[in-house]
Amino acid sequence: MIKNKILFDQYNPLNKTMFRIIDDAGKVVNKEWLPEIGDEALLKAYKDMLFARVADLQTVSYQRQGRIYTYPPNYGQEAIAGATGALIGDNDWLVPAFREMGAMLAKGVTLKELFLYFMGYEDGSKFQKAKFTLPISVPIASQILHAAGIGYAIKYNKEDKVVFTFVGDGGTSQGDFHEAINFAGVWKVPVIFIIQNNQYGISTPTRLQTASESLAIKSVAYGVKGIQVDGNDFLAMYRTIQESVELCKKGEGPVLIEAVTYRKGAHTTSDDPTKYRTKEEELLWDGKDPLNRLKSYLIDKKLWSNEAEEKIVPQYKEEVDRQFIEAENWGAYPKEDVFKYLYADMPDDLKEQERQYDRFLQWKATKVK
């Protein structure tokens, strides 16, 4: 499928050009690199992104109603996880951070599971259907080393698989980020590292994270292929990931993708972006919204319409609500679950701690209303 020219060569980060295919209005400006994707697949990808957006916005409102705890919104970044979701295979690995809802859903993680997690149940990370998908990882950039290790296992076992892993712009400051890219580079393992450069690590702008010209350029020092992509351009992300998978499967990985995007929401629901960014900046990025851009492209191609969207959004909202209410009815947190997952075999001392707790609970039941 790869043409004679390699995208990663043409857009070598040293050339300082960001890869994009459609402009802010959804018009094709870079026909040469249009990805091979059927209309049906393209429409499905858009609808998946739309569903993820509906779910994300609704999750924020559940949080505001006090029905879940802290939540990190995906709003504005859907094309990155969306393109990943459109290309990730059932047997590929996903090593997420915490802002990749679309990719997790594509792997078969259910919204209900995500809701359970943000309601404060570990059960939300016990994915029933999603294979080769690690739970959400909170400590910044720590998980991408795991992706390098999984990549080693894939290579060692000669499997036809790749690993997708995610980190933010802030995460590129962590030592673990550099170690992960370095290890993966030395081992030449099939890992697709995706930096979601959403311009802020909580309140800190990317220019305070690095003096580098781009984040993609960091790939050069580690001897791995890198590219800076317009992360709000679904087609560009799709094309990049398509080539990344093929390179990785040919043993020419890893690759580092900087996806330039904007976090339209807050860092988490505990954060207030008005403290550190301007309305003007937010408006500027509103004009680059990833869903609007792809929608315009689809409408031009007569694949989609505003009417179709208006019809489907209420159905999505209903489905999101349905899964949310299922999660809300999950029930009490079994006391045993506090203890039983720490060790393969529970140590005697821990068993005794649980028994002591049982005795206290019995006492409390008789003494306290």
């Binding site: 149940y121 909170v138 305070l208």
Partner: protein
């Protein structure tokens, strides 16, 4: 049935407001901010930085307004890297500055462990006194705020175990200000652990002027005769709630707020246990190899012949702090503390 402990006033502290000239109502975040402001004002070597501490003023607002007042070369946002923050602070400190750095949450300090354990705690010893690292590492710690994973741990024991570090935990706004000022003025490396559960939950009158509270000295908050309870940070408040039940049950509790994990105040613990003959520790961290074990051993060494019951620990279990829906199983509630008080007094 046990009477409810709610609604009754708790004694916040045992200092006299008469010692000071001007008082202001503050919560712990305000008090920490005030201490930083005072030290930034009176010592040009004090530098404050960390993730989001500059423009935003910290995710808990502990550094709010300080960049505006003291300048971006003294209060600033660092790249997102805990090891980088602590490692560079060590460099600043050996070069004569007094950095006060923030770890955004206790659970994110681990990347900085190498710098803390391999260097901050060792440089004076390694250089035989030629260099020292006068610096403070502030971090919110502890559970009870319905947080995501890695936001609820209490790791005082881990830090207390490292030779060369001092570890301080305030339990009130007043203590937070006085202890933080002492920490910044200390020539040692101080882990300053802030119980975020009570960041805003408690307000009290705090002196506007500069004052300090000595490191390494515990505070006997309430005198009692039947049992000594040692706690620190957010647990002090929980013990005070349990003490209301204990009082109704006719049990007199002596409450010690440890204030410093290390150096630990052996003398105050020993004196109290010799008087009461019983000791219970209340900690949030996991049980094994925790503060409870250390304090119990001090009681055994110092007051063996006075003991009328085995030293007892109310602590977290040896498990990961559960996510919010299960956290109540882990946390020390006043009933759990009272249950143990009653058990030990009847032993």
């Amino acid at each position: 049935m046990i009477a409810s402990y709610s609604g009754k006033p708790l004694r916040l502290s045992n200092y006299s407001t008469k010692e000071f000239t001007g008082m202001k109502i503050m919560n712990m975040v305000n008090a920490i901010n005030d201490a930083l402001d005072i030290k930034l004002s009176d010592d040009k070597n004090v530098i404050v930085y960390g993730e989001d501490v500059g423009v935003e003023g910290g995710v808990f607002r502990a550094t709010e307004g300080l960049q505006l007042k003291h300048g971006a070369d003294r209060v600033f946002d660092s790249p997102l890297a805990e090891s980088g923050i602590v490692g560079t602070a060590i460099g600043m400190a050996v070069a004569g500055l007094r950095p006060v750095v923030e770890m955004q949450f206790c659970g994110f300090v681990y990347p900085a462990f190498n710098q803390i354990i391999s260097h901050a705690s060792r440089i004076r010893n390694r250089s035989r006194g030629n260099f020292e690292t006068p610096m403070v590492i502030r971090m919110p710690y502890g559970g009870g705020i319905n947080a995501l994973e890695h936001h609820s741990e209490s790791m005082e024991a881990i830090f207390g175990h490292i030779p060369g570090l001092k570890v301080v935990v305030p339990s009130t706004p007043h203590d937070a200000k006085g202890l933080l000022i002492s920490a910044i003025e200390s020539n040692d490396t101080i882990l300053f652990m802030e119980p975020k559960r009570i960041y805003r939950a408690i307000k009290q009158e705090v002196a506007e002027e500069k004052y300090s509270i000595p490191l390494g000295k515990a505070n006997v908050l309430t005198q009692g005769k039947d049992v000594t309870v040692v706690a620190f940070g957010a647990m002090v408040r929980e013990v005070q709630k349990a003490m209301i039940m204990a009082k109704e049950a006719g049990i007199s509790v002596e409450l010690i707020d440890l204030r410093s994990i290390y150096p630990i105040d052996r003398e105050t613990i020993a004196k109290s246990v010799k008087k009461t003959g019983r000791i219970i520790t209340v900690t949030e961290g996991p049980r094994s190899f925790g503060l409870g074990s250390e304090i119990s051993q001090i009681a055994i060494e110092e007051a063996f012949l006075s003991l009328e019951a085995p030293p007892s620990r109310v602590s977290g279990f040896d498990v990961i702090v559960p996510l919010p829906k299960g956290e109540h199983h882990y946390m020390q509630d006043p009933y759990k503390i009272f249950y143990e008080i009653e058990r030990i007094v009847k032993f």
